[in-house]
């Protein structure tokens, strides 16, 4: 019953947002709204690995790229529905994209999640770069020129689709984290050795978190592909992964609410800084980004929310031991 309630809530929110967006916003703002949905998916899914499972992944853009390219390729060659039902294609594409990204996540995670901390960060970073280089060299996906003419428009249905996916991501991750699996993620984060002593298969737990996280990154990539209608390997550089990390860290590692807030802030900030860019003539956006990241780590290492969720906001920060 409660799970049904959650899904209804997600559907209603997505419907309200999409109606409001198509009625009241200009295309520019609609685009930003789409990016908020995509970035929320990316941030929440990365938070599962970085925040809840305590593993540091720097290759999220790579999984997003897998999803985006798979989805684009399928959509260019395969249309199960046509005409008025065309919109029903997109969930299928997103699902397939997510599954492919999850498979990639499994392939990367299986060997590399035995490594600890820093090494994992580097391997995932390396994987992201390898994906990009392979995409640059694959002629099937256009190589460095990129892929054009991917179907997809910005309208009420696609907006509903994007926000339904974003909502579903949050809901599914929320339920996952509050299940027994979620508790094993947390125990791996807190102390891997102790978790192992308690009979938790730490490698399996980590791979699971990684695969689920890649699934949603792939789905986000699919939505991204059908929103921008063109893909280029340059969109999936290391900086994109760092962007997602910034969202997670800004909002607070271990808080889905925080990730959503982080995603919204990081999406809106560059647009809000545009006047400053025009005023000074130099692109200070990334300078401000990186400075924020450093200062955040020094002054408020837990991010905006720490590990609190929306229903715990009133709670004072737990004392650090």
């Amino acid at each position: 019953m409660r799970s049904l309630l959650g899904w209804i809530l997600v559907a209603v929110v997505a419907l309200v947002v999409s109606v409001a967006a198509t009625v009241g916003l200009n295309p520019y703002l609609q685009q930003i709204l789409f990016y908020i949905a995509i970035n929320s998916m990316l941030a929440c899914s990365l938070n599962l690995v970085n925040g809840f499972c305590g593993q540091f992944s720097l290759g999220h853009a790579g999984f997003m790229a897998v999803g985006a390219y798979v989805s684009a390729l399928i959509s260019l060659n395969f249309h199960p529905f046509s005409g008025a039902l065309e919109i029903l294609n997109f969930p299928i594409y997103a699902l397939l994209a997510g599954l492919c990204a999850a498979a990639a996540g499994f392939l990367v995670g299986m060997p590399s999640l035995r490594l600890r901390g820093d090494y994992l960060a580097i391997v995932t970073l390396g994987f992201g770069e390898i994906i990009r280089v392979v995409l640059l060299n694959l002629e099937v996906v256009g190589g460095a020129r990129g892929l054009y003419g991917i179907p997809g428009t910005i309208d009420m249905a696609s907006c509903f689709h994007a926000f339904f996916w974003a909502g579903a991501t949050v809901l599914l991750l929320w339920r996952l984290i509050h299940s027994s699996y979620g508790r094993s993620f947390l125990s791996v984060r807190e102390d891997e050795i102790a978790a192992e002593c308690m009979g938790i298969d730490t490698t399996r737990t980590k791979v699971m978190a990684f695969v689920i996280s890649s699934f949603f990154a792939g789905a986000a990539g699919s939505i991204f592909a059908h929103t921008t209608n063109s893909l280029n390997p340059a969109s999936f550089q290391f900086v994109k992964s760092v962007d997602v990390v910034i969202m997670v860290v800004l909002g607070g590692m271990g808080s889905l609410t925080g990730s959503i807030i982080g995603a919204i802030l990081v999406t809106i900030l560059p647009e809000a800084l545009r006047p400053l860019h025009e005023l000074t003539g130099v692109d200070l956006r990334m300078v401000i980004y990186s400075l924020t990241l450093i200062l955040l780590m020094i002054l408020r290492p837990g991010g905006l929310l720490g590990s609190r969720e929306w229903n715990q906001l009133w709670r004072r920060r737990a004392a650090r031991s």
């Binding site: 970085n50 305590g54 540091f56 060997p111 590399s112 035995r114 490594l115 901390g117 820093d118 090494y119 960060a121 580097i122 391997v123 970073l125 390396g126 994987f127 770069e129 390898i130 280089v133 392979v134 640059l136 060299n137 050795i193 290391f238 900086v239 760092v242 990390v245 860290v249 590692m253 130099v282 692109d283 200070l284 990334m286 300078v287 980004y289 990186s290 400075l291 990241l293 450093i294 780590m297 020094i298 290492p301």
Partner: protein, 300 residues
């Protein structure tokens, strides 16, 4: 055959440069267990310090060994100062924070240097000043040995020998080794850990400065993003050799340079950037502590 020898020479050159930068990574990792992502951008700033220094003192007017040495010194000093600032203002406040936070800060510092570099130095590439003229020293058939090849290798070797002497023979070097062996016991032995860490940053960064001038000689195009890729590869080289292990970093750097040159020569140049990470993943799967690293058993 002659072609192969030529590729080996080029690979050794590239490898020597990777090794110099990898040493900086490995030294900092040794004392702090931190991947200093900003190291690659310290290297970039070193190249620009050399560029502006050479312009300021008109070193291009009389190219020669003296100008070259001066450029090296300018770059090394610039890098050391930057390295010290990074350590003091970004890493030291986080000395007792979780590792993840320091890692994220390091990425932040790296991005900050890259993008403020684009603002300060301008995003378009600049031509590195020619402080030394290249000439062909001798040639056997198709093999040509250039002055720059010899310079790069000999400067790198001298720098590494100096480092080795410093780490093995001096008291400060001994303290560095002690800190990397055990942070806490070193403090108990009366070693001022903070100043040792600062020395480590200064030395590691100045090696990056040497590397940047050598790269500037050989590939005279510098831009604010030049550090990213070479830094990543140098880091991979450090991991390859066993991070925290100085001879390992040198071996890893040379291996990396040779492999890359061979891939470019005999396979495809577009895959050269994927090679580094492919190699890294391969090594980490079969020997997670690197070629010369020791496996540490985690104790509870």
């Amino acid at each position: 055959m002659e072609e192969l020898v030529q590729h080996i020479i080029n690979g050794l050159n590239l490898g020597a440069i990777y090794a110099l930068i990898a040493l900086g990574y490995t030294m900092v990792y040794g004392v702090l267990q931190l991947i200093n992502f900003a190291h690659s951008d310290v290297y970039m700033v070193g190249a620009f310090a050399a560029y502006y220094g050479a312009m300021r003192f008109h070193l291009t007017d009389k190219p020669g060994w003296l100008s070259f040495a001066l450029t090296l010194v300018i770059s090394m000093v610039g890098c050391s100062v930057l390295g010290l600032c990074i350590e003091r203002f970004a890493y030291r406040p986080l000395r007792n924070a979780p590792k993840l936070n320091t890692l994220i800060t390091a990425i932040g510092v790296s991005l900050f240097l890259q993008f403020s570099g684009q603002v300060v130095f301008g995003a378009d590439p600049k031509l590195f000043p020619e402080v030394l003229h290249d000439e062909t020293l001798f040639s056997f058939g198709a093999i040509q040995i250039q002055l720059f090849d010899i310079t790069i290798i000999s400067v790198a070797v001298v720098a590494m020998l100096c480092l080795n002497w410093f780490i093995q023979k001096t008291k400060t070097g001994m303290a560095i080794r002690a800190v990397s062996f055990s942070f806490r016991s070193a403090t108990l032995m009366g070693i001022n850990v903070n100043s040792i860490i600062m020395v480590t940053f200064a030395v590691g960064s100045s090696l990056a400065g040497v590397g940047s001038v050598l790269v500037g000689l050989k590939y005279p195009k510098i831009d604010p993003l030049m550090g990213t890729l070479i830094g990543l590869k140098a880091f991979v080289a450090a991991v390859l050799g066993g991070i925290g292990n100085l001879p390992g970093a040198v071996a890893g750097g040379l291996l990396m340079g040779l492999c890359e040159e061979m891939v470019v020569a005999y396979l495809s140049s577009t895959y050269r950037d994927a090679l580094a990470f492919g190699l890294l993943i391969f090594i980490l799967l079969f020997r997670p502590s690197g070629l010369l690293g020791q496996t540490r058993v985690e104790k509870v």
